[in-house]
Subunit: 392 residues, 2 copies
Amino acid sequence: MTNRVALVAIGETKYDEHWDYSLRDLASMAAQKLYMSIFDRFDYRNIESIFVGNAASAAFTGQLHLNAFVADAIGLTNKPSLRIEAADASGAAAVRAAYFAIKSGMFNTALVLGIEKMTELTVSTQINTVQSSVLDREWEEDAGLSLAAAYAIMARKHFETYGTTREHLAAVSAKNHEHAVLNPNAQFRRAFSIEQVLKATMVAEPLSLLDCSPTSDGASAILLANEDLARKITDDPIWISASAQGSDTISLMARDSLTTLKSVRSAAEDAYKQAKIADPKKEIKLIEAHDSFTITELLALEGLKIYEPGQAGPATLAGETHREGSGIPVNVSGGLKAKGHPLGATGVGQLVELALQMWGNAGERQVDDVDRALAVSIGGTGATSFIHILSR
Amino acid sequence: MTNRVALVAIGETKYDEHWDYSLRDLASMAAQKLYMSIFDRFDYRNIESIFVGNAASAAFTGQLHLNAFVADAIGLTNKPSLRIEAADASGAAAVRAAYFAIKSGMFNTALVLGIEKMTELTVSTQINTVQSSVLDREWEEDAGLSLAAAYAIMARKHFETYGTTREHLAAVSAKNHEHAVLNPNAQFRRAFSIEQVLKATMVAEPLSLLDCSPTSDGASAILLANEDLARKITDDPIWISASAQGSDTISLMARDSLTTLKSVRSAAEDAYKQAKIADPKKEIKLIEAHDSFTITELLALEGLKIYEPGQAGPATLAGETHREGSGIPVNVSGGLKAKGHPLGATGVGQLVELALQMWGNAGERQVDDVDRALAVSIGGTGATSFIHILSR
């Protein structure tokens, strides 16, 4: 199978608490930005298919049938559409389904639109309940576990096993907040020091409020195309050189390890093979990593084999993963922590950031010479992980 | 693109109010039946991917991340999985996503599992709210429209335009209930006369209780494979000769017509082209059609061009679509009305019925010589429709 799939255009709303915008508004805003960016080369009405990434609009906004709803909202009523859910990795899952559809030869173009409108539920405990339904409801959530508590368990085990500390976690948050200051689409354009993260209200020991990603509304869109059409739409297509997925048990208690994300590990092996990457530390120039909690970013980087188990924390504290650090910059967008985490949008938003960087359109936060970049999106506590690698 | 995709195995639970079984149980039961049917030819642990069709488990059971949840429940924890939602056509949507994945060459096998556990919500108004969230929430549901009321509007317009009557609708219900008597997996194995349907409690004029599909729990599974593997798993693969989708506006008020399902019409055109069908009335031998309400079946048959607008009702009343009628038998399984309508399972269950019939395994309700069969699954009021055509 040689059909290559390219990312050819992007569009995104700011991630924020969008009290004045509905689900329909957000979808439309992101799509319109994408349409405008290619209007002189390609009529958006010729887009052939739509893939919607969304985690829980039924619970957040009472809207199901989200494929049809979004198609309608973005002016593509008559086009075939599917909606994909994989917890807070739903956006990346939709990218993958669209990738299949183009590779199969069924469509020449696919618009992927990730979206979540979380603030329609105004009681934070309700939002927390929806977020925690990504856990195993019968065996975990009904027993009182929340998503933050689940990651707190994983963090504590990581502390115990590898000597990771709260300072290491806080360094993730401080870095990502510093990055977000330069991203106009980020929800929190405000720096926090490691001290401030450590002193913030505790949510689930050892995770403070500033170790947790926020409640966000937003939409991100990318347009995928096969090789022929890609070259018509843009002079500078970005190739999807890997689309991989890894899996693990949904409940923590059934896992072999609490300190390794097996799903990231297996997806990475597959992705590196697809993209013919022998040494990811040298060949990958930029990473957007799922940091739903600060510990998640460390687990992700170790799962990707960018760092050995236990080494991601010290490396982050040493500044290696900072935009100007000595290692691979991670979450230059601000990440889920500071750019924001509208669940279904996030996985698509990661690719929006990578594309901006690869095209040299990232403004003040531009990282130079990114010819190969990776996004890892993690559902819940890691029962599902998706990795996409982009190449020029 | 010549990769052919085959249906090679099936498994299904009875559709029912399964008070004693959880979401996990139902998934596992359907998958195990499928595994057992091929255990001497193929080890289920070699299934490469999983596609879950589910409409609203977040709302019904508080369980999100359904791809990982199901993969885990059916003993395929480590396999890549996606969950697809398209209202009550979610099962058919998952079939389509799996079809793409095999056709793309990414996987050799894909298990499609459609599932819904609706009775976990025990208050019928809550269930009704979830069902109605397949409408446009802002423009329809918040204004007080329920799904039954939306179809009642379409039925009344059909009455006014074509002279369709309540007797025509009742004939659909009576036929499907009579069919269900012979289906051990059907929820209501009980015949009702046209008189009884007409006299049942009114839900939304002109639709009585016996014009509406029930609240159901259940799971249906099919295994898809590429040609090579299909021939290893079974001596009698059933080919998917068309997978098509049509779309329309999500809200009724934006549509050109209330009496034609444009999404079925356009999906049918595409499907007939894919399957090289010139005269569907002669070439299709069996149909499973979405009858969420009795009017839906008539609209579906007219959308498929099996009957001209206004003719499906009289034809049904004349017995043409009965298992032993002179036309194409429709919903020999009992349909959504009498087999049951566990939302996410339904679209997969339609293909289970067609495969049983094509393999000659349909027992007392066997229809002879089915070499080509069609399933049409409709989301909500028809903003999304899927058609799959199976051939031997």
